[in-house]
Symmetry: C2
Subunit: 146 residues, 2 copies
């Protein structure tokens, strides 16, 4: 459990520190991640179901965040013409500006608190470990009915 | 940023999955961690300031959680006789029973979702990386006035 203890204490603190580094901006960390995924998609649009799967967020949780972001004017939801039950999440210009405004501070804070603290070897090891951990968690996530 | 991306997606999902694994119990993940720290202290008691520092939780946040846990009857707060401004957090019998009841399920879920997914080498690397990351974050935490 030693790996676990040091990992969990550092991770929780890291998330909180990054959250407070974003305080001058309108975005929370959770919203930032969703917006970052969306900003990299073609046409800055993605099916809600795909976005939920990629981010490993439950559909109900994502749907809740999306309503908040829609009210803020950062995204709009569009019905899928091919699939009546589905929706697209589409990033608006205002949403794009919000993430572009937050990005430099956020990247700086990820550097200072995480990346700059790791050697090149540690970065490589972490990338490998968390890539396969992500795959495993993704498959558990699906098996659990998400 | 590759190390960062895979780390952040896996970490957030892991915390959420562990949270939902605890659902049958009265404890949230955040409370579990604080209670686990307290359960290992001599006499199951610790100064609030020390507990905040060890867990890297801001004093105001810890104080809020402690009020909730006090209402649940899991801890009680006692004034320090040596230091009038300070308080002890003392785990009650009821608190001890709550963590003892949750522990087997929680440990099982940490194993299934994290430890069993890592090779021995990965566990060693993670322990080393997150130990020094924790030290760095702890020093940033203090420098930022916590």
């Amino acid at each position: 459990m030693k790996a676990w203890r040091s990992y969990i204490i550092a991770s929780r603190r890291l998330l909180e520190a990054l959250e407070s580094d974003l305080e001058g901006h309108d975005l929370s960390m959770a919203d930032y991640e969703v917006m970052a995924q969306l900003s990299e998609a073609p046409g800055r649009r993605m099916r809600m179901s795909e976005l939920a799967e990629l981010s490993m967020i439950s559909k109900s949780r994502l749907s809740h965040r999306m309503k908040v972001m829609e009210r803020a004017g950062w995204i709009r939801r569009e019905e899928c013409s091919e699939d009546r039950r589905g929706f697209w999440a589409v990033m608006t210009e205002k949403g794009w500006r919000a993430i572009v405004a937050a990005a430099p501070d956020h990247v700086e804070s990820v550097r200072k608190r995480f990346i700059d603290q790791l050697s090149t070897k540690e970065q490589e090891n972490l990338t490998a470990t968390f890539s396969h951990l992500t795959e495993e968690l993704r498959s558990q996530f699906k098996d659990e009915g998400n």
